[in-house]
Symmetry: C2
Subunit: 245 residues, 2 copies
């Protein structure tokens, strides 16, 4: 629990490589995570080659850690392996549908997070790249992902070369609901977001961006309606292309 | 790492309750998990009331641990709280789309898995119920989930009253790919699935079910094409109903 409580995302990595025995131990141990019907509906593409990191970099919006991290892991929802197995065993798979996609996404993300917890407990630093879903069709092409394989999460992994401050979190009462969901009133929202909105770095952020409120930074700049709708379209197209829709 | 390597899903729980301080400590610590833009796009509905467990039980196919576990957690992808915040702060959110759903799903599942890892490290037993996506619209109704909130994962949590054998996993080489995805040939599949297919319990399982191969148990009985397609339809309907499509 100590590692989790003190954890932070790491975006600057030392030149020190990640030993392949350690990496494989972590990847293997993470597979103890629960998985649907014990099918392990995921695969991990490991990128260590400089040229391949350079190819992936623009798809992750040229965030510098993509090239700088010694290891990139692209965790994929994978029904291809299970389907191949079934086809070689006189079985008739029916996993080219949305439920199966979501089941494989679940398996992939649960696996991803156990890997993060274990790697951080070993002192490694992780940055989870939220850009994977934004550029899915190009990532599919570069990593040569076949039908029924879909990139879900990318992790930059290495030894930390920075020690950033921990970011804030909402109070527990913001995320838990007893027995049924209790919707948020204006005054609850005020209470829950008060601390976050009054952090000096957030106030400065509002000023620099010439906005009135912190929420506008998210809705107008970081995750805008236009971008979300455009990317939703390309994401759905990529799902069709990979046979899940 | 020790807890993860030796972990198993638990389906029988002692009568001993889960102390609320411990539960809250785990739920709070799990929130240190990385989250998109630090928005924490998830909520957790905690079910401890007997009557509510009884209501949820059929939606989880009457698996006995739903009623027997002292605590059920339904982890939801949640953009409602963020949207409410934005609306009270003169911001114009655009999160009623598929990308936003997937981003909230990612946040919810990463949070879920850190909770599992922390809870198991404390000696608690967990069973992850894969049935949540199957019955989403009824769960939405019972837990009173508003628009832009969607149930993703359910955990039965309690003190173990059984010590089952660990289940097998595929060898690491089945799930990792160096630099690009290397598709599986028939002989690779033979190698990777040989151990699993020759386990006495799996051989017995094939016999009892009057099937030729283990894969047929999955394709014909556990996760059939018909069921998957039917549930994909209801899942997509539920996503529309909750405003994500």
């Amino acid at each position: 629990m100590k590692t989790v409580i003190s954890r932070k995302s790491i975006r600057k990595f030392a030149e020190r490589p990640v030993d392949s025995t350690l990496l494989n131990t972590l990847l293997d141990a993470s597979a103890r995570t629960q998985t649907m019907g014990n099918l392990q509906l995921y695969s991990v593409v490991i990128t260590q080659d400089e040229k391949n990191k350079q190819k992936l970099s623009p798809l992750h919006f040229n965030q510098p850690m993509v090239v700088q991290a010694p290891v990139l892991l692209t965790v994929c929802a994978d029904f291809n392996r299970t389907v191949k197995w079934a086809e070689y065993r006189k079985a008739h798979p029916g996993y080219d549908n949305f439920l199966s996609f979501m089941n494989a996404v679940s398996d992939a993300l649960l696996y991803t997070q156990t890997f993060c917890n274990l790697a951080e407990a070993e002192g490694l630093g992780i940055c989870y790249l939220g850009t994977t879903l934004y550029s899915s069709s190009q990532i599919i092409e570069i990593l040569k992902l076949p039908r029924l394989v879909f990139p879900i999460a990318t992790l930059a992994v290495g030894w930390p070369a920075e020690n950033p401050n921990q970011t804030d979190r909402l109070p527990l009462s913001a995320i838990i609901h007893n027995e049924v969901y209790h919707d948020y009133t204006e005054s609850t929202i005020d209470d829950l977001y008060n601390y976050k909105e009054n952090l000096p770095e957030n106030k400065r952020f509002i000023e620099i961006n010439n906005k009135e409120t912190l929420a506008q930074i998210f809705t107008d700049i970081r995750y805008s309606k236009n971008d979300n709708e455009m990317i939703s379209g390309t994401l759905i197209e990529a799902l069709k292309q990979q046979g899940f829709l």
